[in-house]
């Protein structure tokens, strides 16, 4: 093979890569590097463990990331808009408790689910209003609502979990369509819908604008407070949805559900290339990072690494992702 052929070959590969980049959303912040790491890891694990590439194992990974994934969609949007939402774990638990309790009282499931989603919306409204009108740092504001909502969950339930005997509810958690669990389909659908909406609607456009410069957006006439609240409401509603998934999967509603889950959610979002400073990020990046984290977790288990070490690995990945984000920001500032 001559050098010119080599050149044209790699050029071809370049356009194919560019085509893939466009497919994933185009331009800046396309998560191609992450995708390459994921593929590499999948290859290594397939060679290392005969069990890894089985349908059972892959669906297990899918089930394992469903809840974190739903929370990560809302978190990505909130962080792009320059905010932060630590309250997702407790919102998830509280919403699950509401749905579980109502279901056990014989309330029809759609009504119970609607009530759970309504609670998520209300918590989101509260977060957004406190942050927008109270001008309080979103980290502190949602740390407070995290504690308040978690506490209320314990107070109301007396700390007891609610065991769900409703068959239809449990069916949603374990049921499959063409072999794929409902909850995995739900996760993929939610990702696709929001990834499609972000570049095509004011909802998405203003998340990037406000995260980039809230002052500039305000001066251009964007109703910043109203949109910020919308993003927290989205996050709250998705957290409630995650709460329903939790109850359906485990068969019980616990006030302690999702404790500490923020770590996993934020790791996926930041590793996926969303900037902590707001203004940039992609749901496709979050999605790939989510799968990557699920695969890493699965790989650690397959290789028999003790569970305690998994926390250490997760924390380290978050640290690396944040360092990379910081590095990239400095490069942009120097340019």
């Amino acid at each position: 093979m001559s050098m010119s052929e080599l050149g044209s070959l790699s050029g071809n590969g370049g356009t194919r890569l560019a085509g893939l980049a466009r497919y994933l959303g185009g331009g800046r912040d396309t998560p191609l590097g992450l995708l390459a790491i994921l593929i590499l890891l999948v290859i290594i694990l397939s060679i290392g463990s005969p069990y890894f590439l089985t349908a059972v194992n892959l669906l297990n990974i899918g089930r394992g990331i469903a809840i974190v994934g739903l929370l990560a969609v809302g978190m990505t949007i909130v962080i792009i808009s320059g905010g932060f939402d630590l309250s997702v774990g407790s919102t998830m638990a509280a919403s699950g408790m509401v749905a579980g309790w109502l279901a056990m009282q014989g309330v029809p499931l759609p009504v119970a689910f609607a009530a759970a989603l309504a609670l998520g919306v209300i918590i989101g409204l509260a977060n957004g209003a406190i942050i927008s009108y109270g001008r309080i740092n979103p980290l502190i504001a949602t740390l407070a609502t995290l504690a308040i909502v978690r506490g209320c969950g314990y107070v109301v339930s007396g700390g007891r979990e609610i065991v769900i005997s409703n068959q239809a509810f449990q069916k949603l958690g374990v049921g499959t369509f063409l072999g794929v669990p409902y909850i995995v389909l739900l996760l993929v659908a939610v990702f696709l819908i929001f990834a499609w909406l972000m570049p095509r609607t004011l909802f998405g456009r203003y998340a990037y604008a406000i995260g980039s410069s809230a002052k500039a957006a305000q001066r251009a006439g964007v109703p910043v407070a109203r949109w910020r609240i919308t993003y927290y409401v989205t996050s709250g509603a998705l957290a409630a949805l995650a709460g329903l998934v939790f109850v359906a999967r485990t068969g019980n509603a616990q006030p302690s559900a999702g404790a500490g889950i923020e770590l996993d959610v934020i790791t996926a979002v930041i590793l996926g290339g969303t900037s902590l400073n707001g203004g940039r990020g992609r749901l496709s990046g979050t999605f790939i990072a989510l799968i990557l984290l699920g695969v890493i977790n699965n790989g650690l288990i397959l290789m028999g690494v003790p569970a305690f070490w998994q926390q250490v690995v997760k924390g380290s990945i978050l640290l690396v992702a944040v360092l990379y984000d910081e590095l990239r920001r400095h490069r942009v500032e120097e340019a």
Partner: protein
Amino acid sequence: MSGPLLEMVGVTKSFGPIAALHHVDFHIGKAEAVGLIGDNGAGKSTLVKILSGLYPPTAGTIRFDGREVSFGSPLDARSAGIEMIYQDLSLCGDLDVAANVFLGRELRRRVGPFRFLDRRAMRRAAETAMQELGARIEVDRITGELSGGQRQLVAVARALQFEPRLLLLDEPTAALSTEKIRVLMSVIEQLKSRGVSILMISHRFTDILHVCDRIVVVRQGRIAGELAPRAQPADRTMAAMHALMTGDELGAAA
């Protein structure tokens, strides 16, 4: 219909006990370029922020095009035909050029009950706008990656996109090279010839002298005086401006 495009009568703005503007009477004619000059804290920014809808006045009335107006938000002022270019340009660095040009007033198309961004129409309109300004900037470039002069042009394109009647410029020359200032000043001359009125805040007296029909000096929240730069030699205007700004009565008399 004659009469001024904009008229402020007895406009006062207080922040708590501090009055930034006291009973200011001020007007701008159609296609007139007015310079607004004063020390830091004299009240010129407050005046401009009232006109751009960022602050409501505490008292007084504002008439625009013969009608009394009150702007509750920047969008109110923009839809009335008042555009503002801020000193820091107020662009979103993470958005592309087209998105910045249409920020706050995105074009959308209706699909059933939903409305989606019409990205192609905005792109095309932004391309035309940049060409009209003689700028060779691709509209899908990320704004934060452009040079200072290019960003200035994006801000100008945004202000002109919806055909304003009055353009407010806050220190437009502060961050520009001499050459870029010349380009900007020619844009301003063009706008005047198209009938757009201009109110410009500037510290650079020489820029203001060349393009402004009238210069208004603000001091301690009041209008200290007015000058007609075209009616007298530049050094006389400069001397009078300094006198009005510092309150040196002897100089003002000269």
